[in-house]
């Protein structure tokens, strides 16, 4: 008897249901329940009425935005240099840039803490942003590199041919055509940073609190319903971001992003 090809997906399907779909449904259900199990919007109202949590939420988005922008400023030029065959002739340099992606994030974060200790620099907000940029930089370099690398060089030549200076070639052709990779990278950085908590605790000695920590605290303290509501709010933000990025992603076959 032959097993149909689609049957191969069953193990993953089971995993998906158990580890992704079910918890998500549970979060959604808990978020709209009070302790007695009846439907309520109280959990969401509580969030807007708790200035501390609201503040942490806005602060987390700020940190995520700063991290993403810094990653973009550092990562785009790096990706551009890596993709430019006249500047970078070996694949080894690319590996060096991507290498941190292969190392556990916690290990990298602990190394950052050790580095700050060694340099006698205080841990705190600065260290947090540094650590996050360090952690997430490869995630922006790689998709941007892939789009630039795959881009037909005749586009740039055509622009030059039509009278564009090297700067205009970049702003009018290369940059717009690499946007799918940029969006992909932005999502890869923005979404995980917004929900970071362990990294923040280590790098700021618990001095700075991010939204991920708020969720964790509530859940740890048995406030499952409120914690679920907070998690759902965060998911909403992530969902909006990726929908926004998707809209700009119409040249699907040109993109070389990770998503």
């Amino acid at each position: 008897m032959t097993i149909r090809r689609s049957a191969w997906a069953i193990p993953y399907g089971i995993f998906l249901i158990a580890a992704v779909a079910l918890p998500l449904i549970m979060i959604a259900v808990y978020a709209f329940q009070d302790r007695s199990g009846s439907f309520t919007l109280q959990n969401f109202i509580k969030f807007f009425k708790t200035p501390e949590d609201l503040h942490t939420f806005i602060y987390s988005i700020q940190i995520a935005l700063i991290t993403t922008v810094l990653c973009l400023i550092l990562g785009y030029p790096a990706a551009w240099i890596l993709a430019n065959s006249s500047l970078n002739r070996s694949a080894v340099t690319l590996i060096l840039f991507i290498l941190p992606m292969w190392i556990n994030m916690l290990v990298r974060t602990l190394a950052t803490v050790a580095l700050f200790d060694f340099l006698r620099m205080p841990l705190g907000e600065g260290a947090l942003i540094f650590g996050m940029v360090y952690n997430f930089l490869p995630f922006i370099i790689y998709p941007v590199y892939t789009t630039l690398h795959k881009m037909d060089p005749s586009y740039a030549e055509a622009a030059q041919d039509l009278g564009a200076t090297p700067l205009k070639v970049f702003t009018k052709v290369t940059l717009p055509l690499s946007m799918p990779g940029v969006w992909s990278g932005v999502l890869m950085v923005f979404m995980p940073t917004i929900s970071t908590f362990a990294v923040a605790e280590l790098l700021t000695l618990n001095k700075v609190k991010l939204f991920g920590t708020t969720i964790q605290e509530n859940i740890n303290n048995g406030l499952w319903h409120y914690g679920s509501a907070l998690a759902l709010i965060m998911l909403l933000i992530i969902g909006i971001t990726s929908a926004f990025a998707d809209r700009d992603d119409k040249h699907a076959d040109e993109k070389g992003g990770l998503l």
């Binding site: 055509a158 030059q160 041919d161 009278g163 055509l177």
Partner: protein, 467 residues
């Protein structure tokens, strides 16, 4: 005053080296104002490299490019008054048809109204009016091609460069576009430099055809000249169908080939000189009546080609000729044939045997082509520089590359009526010429062997060392 230069672009001694390989080898070319010049050749012949050098995307390693008498080496591509139609169009996918065409004009800060007028004018010229708002990716190949041409023309370049612009289109579309490009050229009066590997396209479109091979120009001439008077067997074989045969120039206006003597119009080759003879298939007149004909043979195949029939005829002397005629002659028919003196094209032979330079390693071995070869014992002192001659038909080709003394591949093949004349390229980019009856394919890997008795050596005199 610019009109005083009859030549708009002049290439002087251009060479380009990629990874140690010379892809362009001292190319010189004069392109006249308003001329339609086609660079024609097989892939890797250097035609696209030449175009990219003119456009400025790459720099020459040697030589100069003159525009109206001035060297443009220091002028970056965006300042050169040329525009290019790229092979795969290279239309910007993030811009619509209008913005693609207006791209160059917007960079030049031309007023909006003027841009609008010019874009509409070129769109009309390429018959793409009403398409300005379309996404370029939604267009068919032919439509994209038209937009690419419009984009290149809208800036009113002095020279339009076209890099195999029709290669991606189907046959019917290609023929239509050929006519349109030719019309455009006549209407605009600007210089077109066109790159293609399609000889038919080159002959149809051009005022001047430049045939290239291995980075060198083989022949420059009008389509008619190139077709009727190819300078060597490569050009004859590449342009159109042809019978290329070994012959002997007996004296002026008299040549022998396929076992017969013919009158011809060529003079100045000398007496009893080996030559190549080219006869176009349509220039052999064929009849069922054999009386009074120059030679006779038997038809072996006959294929209808639309307008004419393509036939293969085995002559009584054993040569195979390709003949085209409006009448069909069934296989097995005995036919008589004749060739007019004016239709016989005689070419100097590039070479009559293989010539290598080498060194004597021992009384029974010699080194040439970076390999050691066995030879019959000789009295010449060991270490002497020698010249080696090997006849074309004495080179042995082995199916299995490792069976040969040197390895190589089939680089070029020419059927010469009764045998194949093959060019073998060795691993070290040297050429061995072979006559054989065996059928090989271009690109076949093989081994080369030469029997010791067929390697003829002569010492090179000392005074020759200097040249």
């Amino acid at each position: 005053m610019a009109e005083q230069y009859e030549s708009i672009i002049r290439l002087e001694n251009l060479s380009k080296i990629y990874d140690g390989k010379k892809v362009l080898d001292h190319v010189g070319l004069d392109i006249k104002r308003g001329e339609f010049v086609t660079l024609l050749g097989p892939s890797g012949c250097g035609k696209t490299t030449t175009l990219r050098l003119i456009a400025g995307f790459i720099r020459a390693d040697e030589g100069r490019i003159l525009l109206e008498g001035k060297d443009i080496a220091g002028v970056p591509p965006h300042q050169r008054p040329f525009n290019t139609v790229f092979q795969r169009y290279a239309l910007f996918p993030h811009l619509d048809v209008y913005d693609n065409i207006a791209f160059g004009l917007k960079l030049k800060k031309i007023p909006e109204a003027e841009i609008d007028k010019r874009v509409r004018r070129v769109l009309k010229m390429v018959a793409m009016t009403d398409y300005e708002d379309r996404d370029v990716e939604s267009l068919s190949g032919g439509q994209q091609q038209r937009v690419a041409i419009a984009r290149a023309l809208v800036g009113e370049p002095k020279v339009l460069l076209l890099d195999e612009p029709l290669a991606a289109l189907d046959r019917k579309m290609r023929e239509d576009m050929q006519l349109e490009i030719k019309e455009m050229h006549q209407k605009l009066g600007i210089t077109f430099i066109y790159v293609t590997h399609d000889q038919e396209e080159a002959l149809t479109l051009s005022d001047t055809v430049v045939v290239m091979r291995d980075g060198k120009i083989q022949q420059i001439g009008s389509p008619r000249d190139i077709y009727n008077e190819p300078v060597n067997s490569f050009v004859a074989d590449f342009i159109g169908d042809s019978n290329i045969l070994n012959g002997t120039m007996i004296r002026d206006k008299r040549v022998a080939f396929i076992g017969h003597e013919f009158d011809c119009v060529d003079i100045g080759f000398g007496e009893n000189v080996p030559v190549d003879v080219v006869i176009r298939p349509e220039d052999i007149y064929i009849k069922k009546d054999t009386t009074g004909e120059q030679f006779t043979g038997t038809v072996t195949s006959c294929i209808f080609k639309g307008i004419h029939y393509n036939m293969l005829v085995q002559t009584d002397e054993g040569y195979e000729l390709e003949i085209q005629d409006y009448n069909a002659f069934e296989p097995g028919t005995v036919v008589g044939m004749h060739i007019h003196a004016g239709d016989i094209q005689v070419m100097k032979k590039d070479r009559v045997c293989n010539n290598f330079e080498g060194e004597l390693l021992s009384p029974t071995s010699v080194r040439f082509l970076d390999a050691e070869w066995e030879i019959p014992e000789t009295q010449i002192p060991v270490g002497t520089k020698i010249s080696v001659q090997v006849a074309f038909n004495k080179v042995n080709l082995q199916d299995n590359p490792v069976d040969g003394t040197v390895e190589g591949e089939i680089y070029f093949m020419l059927y010469k009526g009764d045998r194949y004349h093959i060019t073998v390229r060795t691993k070290n980019d040297e050429y061995i010429y072979v006559d054989t009856n065996d059928i090989w394919d271009k690109g076949d890997q093989l081994g080369v062997k030469i029997a010791p008795r067929n390697i003829k050596i002569t010492p090179i005199k000392d005074y020759k060392d200097d040249d």
